[in-house]
Amino acid sequence: MLKKIVFLIFVTCFACFNIVFAAESGGMPQLNPEFWISQIFWLIITFGILFIVLTKVILPKISDNLETRKSQILENIETADKQKEASQKKIDEYEKIILDSKLKAKSYFNEAREKILDDINKKRAALEKDLDEEVDEVEKELSDLKNKSGEKINKIAAETSAELIKELIGEEVNSSSIAAIVEDQSKINKERKDV
């Protein structure tokens, strides 16, 4: 292995020397002035043509291309922005409509509720009034009845007491005096009851 490597290095060095010497003997073709003028001449021609064609024809086209692309992209961005704005406006409008309709719905609901409540109240009031009237009527009737019953009782009492007296005594007594007595008596009774 080691032998091989040493051999390789040796061969490499040999080849290197060989080549370097060969180069030395040949010299650098670059420093040979034989074709210098020709090279300068053709360099000026080719580079000159290249420069002129690039400057006059090709580069303006490329820069035009780049410019148009730039402006087009800017335009597109502008349009996109505008459309975005418009869509934002539409969204706002839509939201406003939704909000309005919500409010309207609420107000409708409230109105309906109030109406119904009103209705209920009215009906209840009417009903209560009816009931009150009826109660009043009944009460009135009752009180009438009460009042009348007192008088009637007195009358009945006076009549019965007049008949009783007639049976007992056998003679007619003045009915008005009996009525007065009965009245007195019922007053006394009433007072007793009240007390």
Binding site: L8, V11, T12, A15, C16, I19, A22, A23, G26, G27, M28, P29, Q30, L31, N32, E34, F35, W36, I37, S38, Q39, I40, F41, W42, L43, I44, T46, F47, I49, L50, F51, V53, L54, T55, V57, I58, L59, K61, I62, S63, D64, N65, L66, T68, R69, Q72
Partner: protein
């Protein structure tokens, strides 16, 4: 001589000899690859710029990304004043990049591995930047050599150093690109030669090195083009925004 790692940098004539007066301007393999690189750039970017769709296809995306990449590079290093020079720096970056990348194809010629090509480019940039500087600031451009906040005693020395560093810009710029490309390609050739000379037994190590080097060289090819362009931007920035 095919095993010579420098052989790949030889320039030879393709077709007939063309002479302009007494000067030889024949079409060479170097010229061929300059033409191929330029044509490739023009075809790719023309196809990329042709369609004007909102959503780009692959070539269009490539050309637009390159455009914005270079534009960002310039605006980051040289500011907004450098905008008029965008197309020059774009062409420069693309030319160097494509020459470097075409050089990575086996048996291809690397244009930028020749000092004369890179030096002409760098010298043109240097002269251009100097002219722009003097045109923008007049003689005030010379303030570039006088940094603010330096003690008077040191000033003569600093000014000399600044002038030397300014004058060596084209050399450093051109040698950086040329040396990187030449060294990389030479190294790849050397390791490729090892694969052959060590044969089936020992050739695997240099072969794996070769594979790794290819990846590295592609990275270097891009990086050197980027460095070349960004240094141009920095020099331009010195000339445009004088704030030393």
């Amino acid at each position: 001589m095919a095993s010579n790692p420098m052989y790949q940098f030889n320039v030879y004539r393709i077709g007939p000899e063309i002479k302009l007066g007494s000067v030889d301007i024949s079409f060479t393999n170097a010229s061929l690859f300059m033409v191929i690189s330029s044509l490739a750039i023009l075809i790719i970017f023309n196809l990329g710029a042709k369609k004007k769709t909102l959503i780009p296809d692959k070539l269009q995306l490539l050309s637009e990304l390159s455009y914005s990449f270079v534009a960002k590079m310039i605006s980051d290093t040289a500011g907004s004043k450098a905008k008029p020079y965008f197309s020059f720096i774009f062409s420069l970056f693309m030319f160097v990049l494509f020459c470097n990348m075409f050089g990575m194809i086996p048996y291809a010629f690397t244009v930028t591995s020749h000092i004369i090509v890179t030096f002409v480019l760098a010298a043109f940039i240097f002269v251009g930047v100097t002219i722009i500087g003097f045109m923008k600031h007049g003689l005030g451009y010379l303030k570039l050599f006088v940094p603010s906040g330096v003690p008077m005693v040191l000033l003569p020395l600093i000014v000399v150093i600044e002038i030397i560093s300014y004058l060596s810009r084209p050399i450093s710029l051109s040698v950086r690109l040329f040396a990187n490309m030449m060294a990389g390609h030479t190294m790849m050739k050397v390791f490729g030669g090892f694969v052959i000379s060590l044969g089936i037994v020992g050739g695997w190590l240099p072969l794996s090195f070769s594979v790794a080097l290819t990846g590295l060289e592609i990275l270097v090819a891009f990086l050197q083009a980027y460095v070349f362009a960004i240094l141009t931007c920095i020099y331009l920035n010195d000339a445009l925004n004088l704030h030393h």
